[in-house]
């Protein structure tokens, strides 16, 4: 700690603080323009100049100067004010004064500083630039005439996002921020630069001229897409979400968002939202009253009795999931599951068997300090981009060693020093086992208090580094080095994402990852963590609340099997488009056709809903009150920002009404009361009250969740996929589940399905971007647009699963990879 005096105030701050941060801590505000909390100090704008007694003769930029013992700082004097005013005058020499038409007007840092410093005239005159605005992309508009060259966009794109779209080009007065070859922006469109820009140089296009910042009502809630649980502040104008506002004050994401969070909100305002209940009469879905629809549903459920299947989406709040579980009880069925299909078994069975817990052991911010990080599947950035940004920062800022067990060269592989254990498709399991074997062979493993060592050793007989190398294509020596580095690191993290397109070997992968974590000593160690991250906003909540098959009940796949064989009397699907998102569309189709009574509760008339007997209009995340639990066990408040469209009701209200119809008991007593009720059956949720959930959320089980046991479970390897071409499916960065395909932002960037080829294969097949190709596998032929990239190794194809029209799941039946043939 260091003692210093700022404006006569004695303060003690950490040694690493800058004068600006120290002043902030003391409650003294120094004006800044280029400083941003999450970025490294830069010192571009010179607004934050202060006087330091020990450095007389010149003014010191407070945001880049570290504190030292006994420093005496003055933050305000006539001289400082004069210099700040001059700096603003310099900035205003080329800054075009078009505040009336600039969407930043009202929250512009430059505008505020100019106003506060009363800069009304300018002693300097210079040319205003007349550069063209960058409008080649649909989401981010760049007007470099307004730029003040603070470099915040350059830095956030490099330091946090790790994309590096921007750079300064030219010198002197001509300096400007440009993309590669000044061709315009073409990136992953996370919009981090938009949120960082202190002036109106980078703005969100969907929000262009929509409203003034002071007109918007801000509602802090949690993003409804992935399991990252980012805080989003809805900018609401007249009952409509107009934009997502920057908010780094609360939540776990530090103001970082991805394209889905920042630009994927528009589906909520969609005209296609369901607004009235629909009941099938004479083969047609016709509008009905709530009373009628609920009565039909209740009668159907009563008739089905124990042969009712309930499949829930993982985007319901905890309270709604709890009610759903009660509904299952009231309806007398044990067939309950959440929409992860079987893919979360890695957590509920794998992890639970190994560590006695069914959740990630650490929290996201800890990963920034890790020395070694092992990411299983390079798709991790695609499924959880904002957690991916934490990994970026760990690697770029703290020089963490990143190891990847991946079948493609994804974004993580491009990070400095990242080592990719590139393996043949579907062979992650073997690589993980190989790593575990190296740890055991070289005596690096932590085996104290660990059960099942002998069994694991036996099971790993076939997984020597060289054997794994021949099977998976990973270099044996690199595998050994990876294991050694993981074992040597004091703080390390293992990341694995699960979700609908990653069904294969889910349980086994969970076990293998847990084995590796145990051998490295991760579970329970401070700063380390094993992260098994769910795909959807409340996947973890669904696991915590036990939305899994009850004793003797059927799981998701078993329910569909039963339905397809005519053994299920009714199916109640809540918030999931099974037909698109589940593997094996043929089976799902058959199940939905055969089941005598199908109820779908959704916000759109999805393809699953179109087959239903009763469709109930539900609410999106932006219309709900309740809680989500993110992939690091953080329980966060979801707040309603806009009213429900038409007669739609929240899932909670609908489920409660059904419970009332079935049992005659009142079920919905408000989210706070239900949350308290949850605590009675889930002890972890009893440690906090609904209103006690703070701005940072509440992590149940603490920052480090202590495992109740450390048991190594023997696990085999994967069966290699044969064939020249192997098709992988998964999540694309721009989309999440199927609902994002109804949002304008993600659709503007990736509008339709594609099949991605590596350069080598594209060359051999003479394919160009946009060519139509025939992909045949599993007896199904699909025609897809080709996309050529340098991510994929030879023989590997990738197709995202989000798009209804493409029908990837006709071909993909839950395998790790599908052997396919390709022709033009």
């Amino acid at each position: 700690m260091v003692n210093l005096t700022i404006d006569g105030k004695q303060i003690t701050v950490s040694r690493t603080a800058t004068i600006y941060e120290a002043a902030l801590e003391a409650g003294i505000n120094i004006p800044v323009l280029c400083y941003a909390k999450k970025l490294l100090p830069f010192g571009a704008c010179r607004i934050c100049l202060v006087q330091v007694e020990q450095m007389k003769g010149r003014l010191i930029p407070s945001c880049t100067t570290p504190v030292s013992e006994g420093m005496v700082v003055t933050t305000m004097s006539d001289e400082i004010l004069k210099v700040r005013k001059t700096v603003l005058e310099f900035l205003l020499v080329n800054h075009v004064i078009e505040c009336p038409v600039c969407d930043k007007g009202g929250e512009c840092d430059l505008q505020e500083l100019t106003y506060a410093h009363e800069v009304v005239t300018n002693r300097f005159q210079g040319e205003k630039f007349n550069l063209e605005t960058d409008e080649v992309n649909p989401l981010i508009e760049r007007n470099m005439n307004r730029c003040v060259l603070c470099g915040r966009c350059v830095r956030v794109c490099d330091e946090v996002v790790g994309y590096g779209s921007y750079s300064f080009i030219n010198r002197g007065f001509e300096t400007k921020i440009a993309t590669a070859f000044d061709r315009g922006l073409n990136c992953e469109f996370c919009g981090q630069c938009v949120s960082m820009c202190p002036v109106g140089a980078i703005l969100p296009r969907p929000f262009k001229f929509k409203a003034r910042p002071w007109q918007l009502k801000e509602v802090d809630t949690v993003c409804g897409y992935c399991g990252n649980g980012c805080t989003v502040s809805l900018g609401v104008l007249d009952k409509k979400i107009e934009t997502i506002r920057f908010n780094d004050k609360i939540g776990v994401n530090d103001g970082n968002l991805c394209i889905r969070g920042r630009f994927g909100y528009s589906y909520v305002n969609s005209e296609e939202r369901l607004t009235t209940p629909l009941v099938r009469k004479n083969g047609q879905l016709v509008e009905a009253s709530w009373d009628e629809a609920l009565q039909v549903v209740a009668d159907g459920f009563k008739q089905a009795q124990a042969s009712l299947g309930i499949l829930s989406g993982a985007r319901l709040t905890n309270e709604e999931l709890f009610l759903l579980k009660n509904l299952a009880k009231v309806a007398g069925t044990a067939n309950l599951d959440h929409s992860g299909g079987e893919c979360y078994k890695g957590v509920t069975e794998g992890l639970a068997g190994s560590l006695g817990i069914a959740a990630s052991t650490g929290t996201f911010p800890q990963v920034e300090e890790c020395e070694a990080i092992l990411a299983i599947r390079s798709d991790f950035y695609e499924t959880h981009p904002v957690f991916g940004m934490v990994v970026n920062q760990a690697v770029k800022r703290n020089e963490a060693q990143l190891w990847l067990v991946a079948d493609k060269r994804g974004k993580f592989a491009k990070l400095p020093g990242a080592q990719n254990l590139l393996h043949r498709p579907g062979m992650e399991l073997d690589v993980l086992n190989g790593l575990a074997r190296v740890l055991l062979d070289e005596g690096l493993a932590q085996t104290e208090g660990v059960e099942g060592l002998a069994e694991l050793k036996q099971a790993l007989a076939e997984f020597g580094a060289d054997q794994v190398a021949t099977r998976t294509g990973v270099d044996a020596e690199t595998l050994r080095v990876a294991a050694r580095q993981l074992a040597a690191a004091k703080k390390s993290a293992i990341l694995l994402a699960y979700g609908l397109p990653y069904t294969a070997y889910s349980r086994e992968l969970g076990i293998a990852a847990a084995n590796l974590a145990i051998l490295v000593g991760i579970p329970g160690r401070a700063g380390s963590g094993l992260y098994l991250c769910g795909e959807k906003a409340n996947s973890q909540g669904a696991i915590d609340l036990g939305i899994v098959p009850q004793t003797g009940g059927l799981g998701a796949q078993a329910m569909l099997d039963a339905a397809a064989n005519g053994k299920l009397n009714a199916l109640y699907v809540v918030g999931e488009d099974l037909l698109i998102s589940y593997p094996d569309r043929g089976k799902v189709e058959k199940a939905l056709e055969k089941v005598p009574f199908l109820v779908v509760q959704d916000i759109f008339l999805s393809s699953t809903a179109a087959k239903a007997h009763v469709v109930l209009p539900a609410a999106s995340f932006a219309e709900k009150d309740g809680t989500f639990t993110n992939a690091e066990r953080r329980i966060q408040r979801v707040r309603p920002g806009i009213p429900l469209p038409g007669q739609a009701k929240t899932d909670g209200t609908i489920i409660a009404a059904l419970i009332e119809k079935l049992s005659g008991n009142l079920a919905f007593t408000g989210p706070a009361a239900i949350f308290a009720e949850i605590g009675r059956s889930v002890p972890a949720y009893a440690t906090v009250s609904f209103n006690g959930i703070g701005p940072q959320g509440f992590v149940w089980g603490g920052e480090i969740l202590t495992p109740s046991r450390r048991r190594l479970q023997p696990v085999g390897g994967a069966v290699p996929v044969e064939g020249t071409f192997q098709l992988l499916t998964g999540s694309a960065l721009y989309h999440s589940g199927t609902v994002s395909t109804r949002a304008k932002g993600p659709q503007a960037v990736v509008a339709e399905a594609y099949v991605e080829f590596g350069r080598e294969d594209a060359k051999a097949l003479q394919l160009k971007d946009g060519d139509l190709v025939k992909v045949t596998g599993n007896g199904v032929e699909l025609r897809l647009k080709a996309k050529v990239d340098n991510r994929l190794p030879k023989g590997v194809l990738f197709a995202p699963y989000h798009f209804a029209a493409a029908g990837i799941n006709r071909l993909y039946k839950g395998e790790a990879a599908v052997s396919v043939t390709v022709s033009k």
Partner: protein, 131 residues
């Protein structure tokens, strides 16, 4: 004392003489309003559009909340008021809107004869305000 009374009455009687009255025969005779009179608003046109750039400062400053603006982008990519409406029944003619306008697109004319028969007639749309 009598001189003072005579002086005062002199002024009084002077006003009774023709040509000294301040009363005019409204509506046949109308007074010319001072330049700073705050009457009906007018949107200033330019050659091809209104001068207004839909910055929302006038509805923001308006104490009576009688101005409705909705911005949009025109073919040239400029910001313009797709909707600009003043509800004269609510307007208190304070002139803050004119004062707030950063581009001098709004002014107040000397029109004060604003009585009308129907409620809708008091809603001044962009087209009416541009006249």
């Amino acid at each position: 004392m009598f001189t003072a009374i005579a002086k005062g009455l002199g002024i009084t009687f002077k006003h009774m003489l023709p040509g000294h009255s301040t009363t005019v025969q409204y509506p046949t005779v109308k007074l010319k309003m001072s330049a700073r009179f705050r009457g009906l608003h007018r949107l200033v046109p330019t050659q091809d559009r209104e001068k207004c750039v839909a910055c929302y400062l006038c509805p923001t400053v308006c104490p009576a909340k009688c101005i409705t603006v909705e911005a949009a982008e025109n073919d040239k990519g400029e910001k313009y008021p797709r909707i600009y409406k003043i509800d004269l029944l609510r307007c208190i003619f304070c002139g803050y809107c004119v004062e707030a306008c950063p581009v001098e697109a709004l002014e107040m004319t000397d029109a004060y004869e604003l009585a009308n028969y129907r409620r809708e007639d008091f809603e001044f749309t962009k087209e009416r305000l541009l006249k």
